[in-house]
């Protein structure tokens, strides 16, 4: 009996050891490095969506950090990430979800799945978060800003706004919302009074998108204008708005044919990218748009941009292969580093 048992056991072991070759398909197993405390966070829309990390000193990088830590996917499409205290809020629009993670470890803390419909951007104010939502994208009248209670992570209120609310910027006791227009087009910035939830609007050029508050305390809004392919091309512009009385202080319009897309603010300087794929810089005190570019990019599809210190980070998105994040040194206007990122890399944040 024993004589049969041993070979049988051996056969059994052999069978199991042979059938476990499923694991060998993937060439590399990425072990999480643990801390994402200091560095650059790159979000990629997908699908599959993903988040990449680049160390502060640009010496190393890691893709798919959310998956590596949590062994699950985020869903599509990763629209934006908001940071508040120790947490990061990852917004995926098609599954109407905000995934909350610890911003240093990227361990999942929770999710918000009710009360959102096609969420886009988030901003934080007084224990609350304001999330822009397109609603049903085919319906231009159901768009809203969801107010999250950050202690319970639930939507406590919704504020109806005009079509296509995009970026959200909380400042003082006001929440500014740029209306890029969703699938359509729009030309307003909504101003929500955080105490009363009363909404005021300011008209700007078509398709307002990126917003910052400059060192002078002004709200700066970048409007792309309508591109030529729409059939009714309109001018792009950068508007400066007085946040106290909600009026436009100055409006810098671009010439026909040139449309600004991306904008960031650092070192007391405004950086923006145009449809010609050039980066321009503008000081707060400048009274006209710059005429000469700072860097002429060579990226194929400039989909995201951010500035920190002397470094300009550009997301060169691909939707059929890995994207690239290119780092430029601003003083010398030269490319210094490049990193791979996920499918459709779109936003760059500093942790």
């Amino acid at each position: 009996m024993k004589n049969i048992f041993l070979p049988l056991l051996a056969l059994l072991i052999l069978t199991f050891s042979c059938s476990s070759d499923d694991d060998t398909f993937y060439e590399e197993v990425v072990i999480p490095k643990g801390a994402y405390e200091n560095g650059i966070i790159v979000s990629s829309e997908g699908g599959p969506s993903s988040i990449s990390f680049i160390s502060e000193d640009l010496s190393s990088s890691e893709n798919n950090i959310y998956f590596n830590v949590n062994n699950e996917d985020l869903g599509v499409y990763l629209q934006s990430v908001g940071f508040h205290n120790d947490l990061a809020y990852i917004i995926t629009d098609t599954n109407h979800t905000i995934t909350i993670v610890n911003r240093n470890t990227f361990e999942k803390v929770g999710t918000i799945t009710t009360g959102l419909q096609t969420p886009r951007y988030i901003s934080f104010l007084n224990g609350k978060a304001y999330v822009s939502n397109w609603g049903d994208s085919a319906d231009g009248t159901d768009d809203f800003v969801a107010v999250l209670d950050l202690s319970s992570n639930t939507v406590e209120n919704t504020i109806p706004v005009g079509e296509g609310p995009e970026q959200v910027l909380a400042n003082g006791d006001k929440v500014f919302v740029s209306h890029k227009g969703g699938w359509g087009t729009n030309n307003i910035v909504s101003i929500i009074d955080a105490n009363s939830n009363i909404v005021d609007t300011i008209t700007v050029n078509d398709n307002p998108d990126e917003m910052i508050i400059n060192n002078a305390g002004e709200l700066v809004v970048l409007s792309s204008g309508k591109e030529a392919w729409t059939g009714t091309e309109t001018l792009g512009a950068i508007a400066k708005i007085d946040v106290n009385n909600n009026t436009v202080i100055s409006n810098f319009e671009f010439e026909m044919g040139v449309h600004p897309n991306l904008m960031d603010y650092a070192n007391g300087t405004l950086y923006f990218q145009t449809s010609e794929n050039k980066i321009y810089t503008m000081a707060d005190t400048d009274t006209a748009l710059p005429t000469t570019s700072t860097i002429d990019l060579t990226t194929a599809y400039t989909y995201g941009m951010a500035v920190k210190g002397d470094r300009l980070f550009v997301a060169d998105a691909s939707f059929s292969s890995q994207s690239e994040v290119v780092v430029y040194d601003l003083p010398s206007a030269t490319e210094t580093h490049s990193f791979s990122a996920g499918i459709g890399a779109s936003k760059i944040y500093f942790n």
């Binding site: 499923d22 398909f25 993937y26 060439e27 590399e28 699908g47 599959p48 993903s50 893709n63 798919n64 998956f67 699950e72 996917d73 985020l74 869903g75 599509v76 995926t92 098609t94 599954n95 049903d136 994208s137 085919a138 319906d139 591109e227 392919w229 729409t230 449309h259 897309n261 449809s275 194929a300 599809y301 998105a317 691909s318 939707f319 059929s320 292969s321 890995q322 996920g342 499918i343």
Partner: protein, 615 residues
């Protein structure tokens, strides 16, 4: 079997008319029975595999499940029952043509045929023609073509088949088809219905396919009538009405909903004579979809295309061994939709197919086509094919062709991005086939090379996605097809297998194209004994890359998988006038988790029971 069938038909047609010119060859019989004669008569050098009625009935009701287990074609399916697209010899979905009774039915909007919107229930046979067929079938027949055929029988008969079934995920199906005919006329009416919750669990997770329910009805009506002894009028009609929820991915459930409404009609008049046949076909096709972003919304986007085809064909038989078929067809496409306004396009094409049987063993064909299209220039396409029967058991087939695919309405007119400067994709290919037949075993071996340029690819351009003729690809590979039948007393065995090795790469980067597996294989084994029969099916799909990088990680590739099905049938009643059988099938027998599109799991082990009554 086929010979007997034709002989039978021949006999019956001869008997039917006294003063009729004797119809003396299989060639004319094809004209009577088939709508697409050139599939049989003008393709000596092409590999054609015909899946007969019996195969169609034991497989799934969709074209995807049929072909995944019975051909070399690879499928990617966005979850079971969802949008399904084939890759034939490493080409893409819009380079595979689907031909309904000789008429191309790929969508004019995206160039593809969704193989899950084609019910296999109501066809007499489905043929798989490998290799380029643009001369014969027009745009898109680059990798190969799938032919859905309804054959009309002009014999006195009246048969009705009723099938009802029930299976996992609350799947209900039913079909009824009646075939009725006499010497001069023939009618086939078929209706097939399927409805499924399709809410299968995603194996290895706690999730399930929450938004995958579908139902569809397919109606086919085919009529044939001999007006005179030499003139036959035929009408083919098919309607498909499908409602589907579109499954999401594992992490992003979807709420969207999709309605397909496809109607196809073909009226055909053929004049049959010994040396000169002519035929006029008039076809009307309508494709219509509505997409709803959520379950509750009343807002939808839609697209609709009406296609009118008028096609006179002249067939000359100069001698017993030389025949020439010429046709000039006029096609008018009229589209409308949410994202592309209401464009239209017309096309005139002239085709000449020459077939010459030089000796009994050697035949060849030379075929030409030129299209004149209102929106762009189409190339002159040509194909040459030949077959040489080396011995009774062995023959060689060779074909070479130039093929093309025109830009679709989406490519040309989509707002934003549509590009009116596009030109057709252009492709050359060569295909060498060998056939060995040892009676109980038939083996086919093919090797091919396809090069395609001016591939239409959508890329971002100043923030707007726009299609451009920018890519080129090369595909080469080998295919093996094996058929074997063996009978021993009352035991009957049938074995059918396919294997393909496919390299299909971007000509510039030399990287394998997305969703083209290097290896694909399938085997079916059927066994019957007296009143029992059973089958086992196995399909293997090799690793695929899901992005262009050719990186093997879970975000850029899918591992290989294999899936097996088993079925058992018992014939309760087996009389010439009445037959009753009950069948059970287990799909994904070994309960394997697999995906053929990334993040979209396919069903776990599932069961299905069918009752079939024929009278």
């Amino acid at each position: 079997m086929k010979q007997i069938f034709f002989l039978f038909l021949l006999l019956s047609v001869c008997v039917s008319g006294n003063a009729q010119t004797p119809i003396d060859s299989i060639q004319k019989l094809d004209e009577v029975v088939l709508s697409d004669v050139k599939l049989k008569q003008y393709a000596p050098g092409y590999k054609i595999e015909v899946l007969k009625d019996s195969v169609l009935k034991t497989n799934g009701r969709s074209l995807t499940s049929l072909l995944a287990f019975n051909s070399n074609i690879y499928f990617k399916e966005n979850g079971y029952g969802m949008v399904s697209s084939p890759s034939f010899r490493g080409t893409n979905a819009s380079q595979t043509a689907v031909i309904w009774n000789g008429i191309p039915i790929n969508s004019q909007l995206n160039g593809q045929a969704d193989f899950n919107t084609i019910s296999t229930s109501n066809y007499s046979d489905i043929a798989i023609r490998s290799g380029g067929g643009s001369v014969q079938y027009g745009s898109g027949a680059i990798g190969g073509s799938i032919h859905l055929n309804n054959n009309l029988q002009f014999t006195s008969h009246f048969d009705t088949n009723v099938r009802v079934g029930y299976g996992s995920y609350d799947t209900k199906n039913g079909s009824i088809s009646s075939s009725y005919g006499g010497d001069r006329w023939s009618v086939i009416l078929g209706i097939a219905y399927v409805d499924s919750e399709n809410d299968y669990p995603y194996l290895g997770t706690s999730k399930k396919n929450v938004n995958g329910a579908y139902n569809n009805v397919d109606v086919n009506l085919n009529l044939g009538y001999f007006v005179t002894d030499n003139d036959v009028i035929k009408l083919y009609h098919q309607s498909f009405v499908g409602d589907r929820n579109l499954s999401g991915t594992i992490s992003t459930p979807s709420q969207s909903h999709y309605k397909d409404r496809n109607h196809r009609s073909l009226l055909e008049w053929s004049h049959l004579a010994k040396n000169f046949n002519y035929q006029v076909k008039v076809a009307h096709l309508q494709e219509n979809f509505k997409y709803f972003g959520t379950q509750t919304t009343e807002n939808y986007s839609y697209g609709k295309v009406n296609t009118l085809i008028v096609k006179p064909t002249f067939n000359f038989r100069f001698t017993e061994s030389i025949q020439l078929k010429t046709s000039v067809d006029y096609t008018k496409y009229t589209a409308e939709g949410t994202s592309f306004g209401s464009p239209s396009r017309s096309n005139v094409s002239a085709t000449a197919l020459l077939n010459h049987r030089l000796t009994k063993a050697f035949s060849y064909g030379v075929n030409l086509r030129k299209d004149f299209t209102s929106s762009f220039e189409s190339p002159l396409v040509i194909s040459v094919d030949t077959e040489y029967e080396v011995s009774k058991h062995y023959s060689i087939q060779l074909n070479g062709s130039r093929n093309y695919r025109v830009p679709t309405f989406n490519d040309l007119y989509w707002q934003p991005g549509g590009n009116l400067d596009l030109i057709p994709e252009s492709s050359y290919q060569i295909d060498l086939g060998q056939k060995a037949d040892f009676g109980f075993v038939q083996l086919k071996l093919n090797a091919y090379y396809i090069t395609t340029e001016d591939l239409i690819v959508w890329t971002p351009n100043k923030g707007v996605w726009t299609p451009r003729n920018i890519a080129a690809s090369e595909s080469y590979g080998a295919e093996v097809e094996l058929q074997s039948e063996y009978q021993f007393n009352s035991h009957y065995f049938k074995l059918n297998g396919h294997y393909s090795y496919t390299v299909s790469e971007n000509s510039t980067t030399k990287k394998q194209l997305m969703y083209v597996p290097f290896h694909k294989a399938n085997v079916s084994l059927a066994y019957s004994f007296k009143k029992m029969s059973m089958f086992f099916q196995y399909a293997f799909n090799g690793d695929v890359f899901t992005t262009e990088d050719n990186i093997k990680d879970r975000f850029s590739s899918l591992p290989s998988y294999d899936v097996s099905n088993i079925g058992l049938e018992y014939r309760i009643l087996e009389k010439p006038q009445q037959q009753l059988s009950i069948a059970a099938k287990v799909n994904n027998l070994f309960d394997k988790a697999y995906q053929n599109v990334a993040f979209r799991p396919m069903p776990n082990r599932n069961f299905n029971i069918q009752i079939h009554y024929k009278f």
